[in-house]
Symmetry: C2
Subunit: 260 residues, 2 copies
Amino acid sequence: MLVMVAHAAPAAASATTAAVSPAPTFSPLYRQIKSLILQRLESGEWRPGEAIPSETELAQRFNVSQGTVRKAIDEMAAENLLTRRQGKGTFVATHEDPRAFFRFLRLVPIAGGVEPARSIPIECWRAKAGPEAARMLALQVSDPITIVRRVLHFSGKPVVVDEIYLPGEIFGNLTLEMLRDFQGSVYSLFETEFGVRMIRAEERLRAVPADRMSAELLNVREGTPLLSVERVSFTYGDKPVEWRRGLYSTAEHFYLNELG
Amino acid sequence: MLVMVAHAAPAAASATTAAVSPAPTFSPLYRQIKSLILQRLESGEWRPGEAIPSETELAQRFNVSQGTVRKAIDEMAAENLLTRRQGKGTFVATHEDPRAFFRFLRLVPIAGGVEPARSIPIECWRAKAGPEAARMLALQVSDPITIVRRVLHFSGKPVVVDEIYLPGEIFGNLTLEMLRDFQGSVYSLFETEFGVRMIRAEERLRAVPADRMSAELLNVREGTPLLSVERVSFTYGDKPVEWRRGLYSTAEHFYLNELG
DNA sequence: GAGTGGTCTAGACCACTGC
DNA sequence: CAGTGGTCTAGACCACTCG
């Protein structure tokens, strides 16, 4: 049945759209399988850290060959949505994995050493979205939001000061205690406690002078150049669910980026 | 013949190394094909922008199935070493491609618009490598190097001031005139005139105050926070061939980074 | 229409994990 | 040993480009 849909789709697509636009040409079978798997992930049917059914079983279930399922999973593994483990199975990616840590925090000490960051939450409060937060989070102005202020320490020293803006609809129950008590990264908490998995993010970097409050928190002089990092994070379906403004002290750390 | 090597390799490898270390387990056939193709690229047999032989021909040549060649090329396309064009062939990736531009210059205007950067070379001279340049370029101290200073303009305004350090052995003939006259990016010139193709790079970002010279060139006040971007670029075989220090004015631009 | 990459299949066998 | 992902093959057909 799925096969028929698969073969019918491109023909129908080109028939209806060819005269309008040449863009949406063709959707191969493995992409349809991919979006079926994606649906299961979005719906929470297969949860972070769990194994999904084996390739052969998915192939039977979807009535396609194992190679087609494989190609779908290949792409999703490349996008860090799934993780393959030979001999064990294919697993839904999770931020519990320490590898995921440095994918989202690219700060490295100038002088060697790989100490993990320690997050120290300062405040957590509710507010109404201003125009900027609303735009970034695709909300309406004055929709409820939750804001977290915190500091990140590396080997005991404050290096990053952060403000995290979250949609109140999802994160209305977030409290300072949860942030304090949770073992693991913030994204790990979001995933475990709120069922929200961050897939990708965009960061915008600038150099700015330290304001008084940040200077105090980071133990630098007011006006010291800091790295300003604005991040919007997206979950499934490219839905923005976090907006973050961070100031990084780059006296003893740098932001490492790989250009592929 | 190659097939025999392929099948013999893992057995031999595990026989000799199993007792020593469990690391270098197994090299599948498609990776051997991949490194054969890589050799052709490194040697310049297939040059940037040119088409490589078709998959079927490579399969015959290497005595493997087309699917195996395909998988090798798949990986190399994912690494931006090759570019596939349906119906036309597979091509060696090149920095002439405008897509390659923003892979290596992630500066975006805050207020919309996608004006291309204009590179204005200021100086180009020979020098001897200091300890830092030597380390970054994997040279000996006092080996010859070539240094370029330049400014990047966006819509007529200076935004980036750059110093580029290059191994003299390769870039001994680089002149200010070449930089001025060449149409296209610096990497495009390196590729065309010096046969050096940049594959990947690492950037280290910090926020620093503008020194007097940079402040003048960028038309900002001394001490203004600037984004310091240090880059080491690598060619085939992870050989470093460029070290760059740039100062970016982030008054009207930001550095955009995608976290996947 | 010939040639290229892109998709899909079916089946064999290998490497790894865990019972 | 059974079950999983990983590799390799051979062949069919589709989509795209170009002369």
